[in-house]
Symmetry: C2
Subunit: 240 residues, 2 copies
């Protein structure tokens, strides 16, 4: 996707990306226009394969643009690296008390992330034996945050990727035989057969579908989908 | 220092670097040979000025080489980003119990870092009014760690840079008028007048002096020096 990434980078102001590599998590943050950025250029040509990648992009329309306010945010819990990116606004969340994790920057998003990890740590000082216990808690916590405004988010603990849809979130799984995809925003076509091996399974989650003629799953408002190893392992309506 | 950095990168296997930019801390980690690395290339040409930079390099002689084992390590405490790099071995430290911070990788260094932050958090759940209280505690903690082996380390809380010398640590402050420096390892000369402004104050701390004919301060074994804004603000013998 090298060519398309270049075009795409020209349209954005602020971006950040987190790649999981083994237990480690590598982040690149760039509060500068993408087309001028050497960091964007590095990400464009970064060929390391990762089982989980979280990317966040935005126009610099509001909020101070600086490194500490740039998503994805990361923290350590249970000796795992957690990463978080959010799209939306959350009213009043910065008044919610925090105990273990404190924001470094000033965004409502980082405060919400700290609050989620605070609550997980409070309920589970050590990782619970059953992964479902964490999922259940993440569902409760994201539902509460959703009550404060718009909360489209991705949260990864290096194994599971939790995606909460408040207003806009869609996903698509591609697997062999890989074909061509036609981007909606530009006239570009990407041949995924050239970018993948037959054994790859690739799921893309975005605020809006990126391509024509592919079976995007548009998530329901107020729902959560959990992914592991590139595949959905659970989908839940928050109102249920 | 672009030219010298290139030469230098060819000689190392594993490197990592942390740049403080405002309250944010940007890290680049590279568990690959430096001369082949795009990340090394980015760092070489990264021109952002930073008030605190911590860099860690080593030959891949021992320990699994992977992202999560690559210094500097970072964690958040009191809403500040802390970074840590260590040179040496610490016997038995991985048996020391941890409460708040857990290692993501398997190094004794990251365990020691987690233990330091654990102890600081335990004594000061919020930042103490007097910075001296943290310094006093860091002195105690580093002295205890030093008892386990070799503990040359740098620890930064985004304001203060704490440097503990176990066997090898030297530092040098350069300020206007900046001149030429002649590197010890190679025949290269660097003209710092070209790299600085007259108002800059630049302190370099390394395991061994890097240049000839400059007034390097070789730290005493078992001593700690604290820097702020590029200048030493305190020096202490641990045995005192």
């Amino acid at each position: 996707m090298v060519a398309s990434t270049q075009k795409f980078l020209e349209q954005i102001d602020v971006f950040g990306i987190a790649f999981y590599e083994g237990r480690g998590c590598r982040t690149f943050h760039d509060p500068l226009p993408g087309c001028e950025s050497k960091i964007a250029e590095l990400v464009r040509t970064h060929t390391v394969k990762s089982l989980n990648v979280i990317c966040h992009i935005r126009k610099a329309t509001n909020g101070r643009v600086c490194l500490e306010n740039t998503h994805p945010f990361t923290r350590e819990l249970w000796g795992r690296s957690w990463a978080f990116a959010h799209n939306g606004r959350l009213k009043g969340v910065k008044d919610w008390p925090l105990r273990f994790y404190k924001p470094i920057g000033t965004t409502d998003s980082e405060h919400a992330f700290c609050w989620i990890l605070d609550q997980i740590r409070r309920h589970h000082p050590a990782p619970p034996k059953r992964d479902m216990a964490v999922l259940r808690l993440v569902r409760e916590l994201t539902a509460r945050l959703n009550g404060c405004g718009t909360f489209n988010m991705m949260l990864c603990d290096s194994r599971y990727l939790y995606c909460h849809c408040s207003t806009d979130l869609s996903w698509l799984t591609r697997r062999a035989p890989f074909g061509e995809a036609h981007l909606i925003d530009t006239e570009l076509t990407v041949d995924f057969a050239k970018e993948t091996t037959p054994r790859d399974i690739v799921t893309v989650i975005t605020t809006r579908p990126l391509t024509h003629h592919e079976p995007w799953q548009v998530m329901e408002r107020g729902s959560i989908v959990v992914f592991r190893d590139g595949l959905p392992v659970g989908a839940y309506r928050q109102s249920a």
